[in-house]
Symmetry: C2
Subunit: 183 residues, 2 copies
DNA sequence: CCGTGCATGTAATTCGTTACATGATTCC
DNA sequence: GGAATCATGTAACGAATTACATGCACGG
């Protein structure tokens, strides 16, 4: 009996619903109109994802007839949904995530303060700092070893990736400083 | 009659095969051991992708019995494969790609010098610079308008994204400078 | 009465993932 | 003889994409 998994989109929706119970249509607009646009706002993505969450008992919908329009359903988290969201947010950033799924880490962190509190945010940032501090030097090593045999554009593309991780590390440290000052 | 599409992985494989005809196993190792690890190196990803490319006539395999091991197949691009690769590489970076698919742009650029020549690389970078110059200010606007209502971690997560695009823009300019000097 | 915006959904297809299966060779 | 490495593949499943379908209400 394996634990069911909900995609990144599923968790994104849980996070959005935690603070603002919303209809599917409203969620689509949030995804489309904010810098969450790495997700698809197509109905074929959002509505099936909501149905999966509902079937798993993580969200419940209230039908609203009031506003003269077509019936719409406002979803909110159930206690099980809150538990699932917190469990996901509590995962510390792993090496693998830092290397290949920074987008998921950003998403987790974005919800962190509201759902888990500032202490959890600081823990999260510290773990991310550790992983990045280990990963960035290994990228530099690879680059130093490989650069001489690469065409210019390939080398530059690789350097662009390394820059990204360095920027992320700098950001992590500044974010930690922001929490320090905030206390 | 719609033009068939090959996934990002398909084009990655075409790009790798352009300079180094390789077996599926060798391609898996390249994906696993270099910073191309955003792709999956699982056989369930690589082999079906190769079969699709072969069926479309973009690659051909030569069976090698020589080395005592199990029979292995070394793939190389056909003329149609080279055409398809070039057509993909010739696409100028669009606004949408800059916003949500920077990974694909990096991949295109990595193969650019070898397959299309340095002039194409410069054209590509100039277009990317234009798109980023238009996009970054709009992100700043959004951030300025929204930041006051956001919890700290959400604001910081958003700022991390903006930093990423700024870094990318700086990199683009430096890359252009590198090509200037190279001439 | 027609287009636009609000609002929800399904169908076909494609692709990736995990897990499994197979087979040959070399090293210990 | 058994583990590790080379090498290729399939099957079941899950999830996203595009495209289509539906229905209500309001403004011009």
């Amino acid at each position: 009996m394996k634990k069911p998994e909900f995609g990144l989109l599923g968790y994104a929706l849980l996070g959005l619903l935690h603070d603002n119970p919303s209809s599917g249509y409203a969620l689509r607009k949030v995804v489309a109109l904010t810098p969450m646009s790495s997700f698809s706002d197509s109905p074929g993505a959002i509505y099936p994802a909501l149905r999966r969450l509902r079937k798993a008992g993580l969200i419940r919908g209230r039908l609203e007839k009031s506003s003269g329009l077509r019936r719409r359903q406002v979803f909110h988290l159930t206690p099980a949904g809150i538990r699932e969201l917190k469990q996901w947010l509590a995962l510390p950033p792993s090496r693998d995530e830092v290397m290949r799924r920074m987008d998921e880490l950003s998403l987790r962190f974005a919800f962190m303060d509201q759902v888990m509190g500032k202490n959890a945010s600081v823990q999260f940032l510290r773990a991310m700092e550790r992983e990045l501090e280990a990963y960035v030097p290994s990228l530099h090593e690879y680059l130093a070893a490989a650069k001489s045999q690469m065409p210019l554009s390939a080398r530059l593309a690789l350097e662009s990736g390394v820059r990204g991780y360095e920027t992320q590390l700098r950001w992590t440290r500044e974010a930690l400083a922001a929490y320090e000052k905030h206390k």
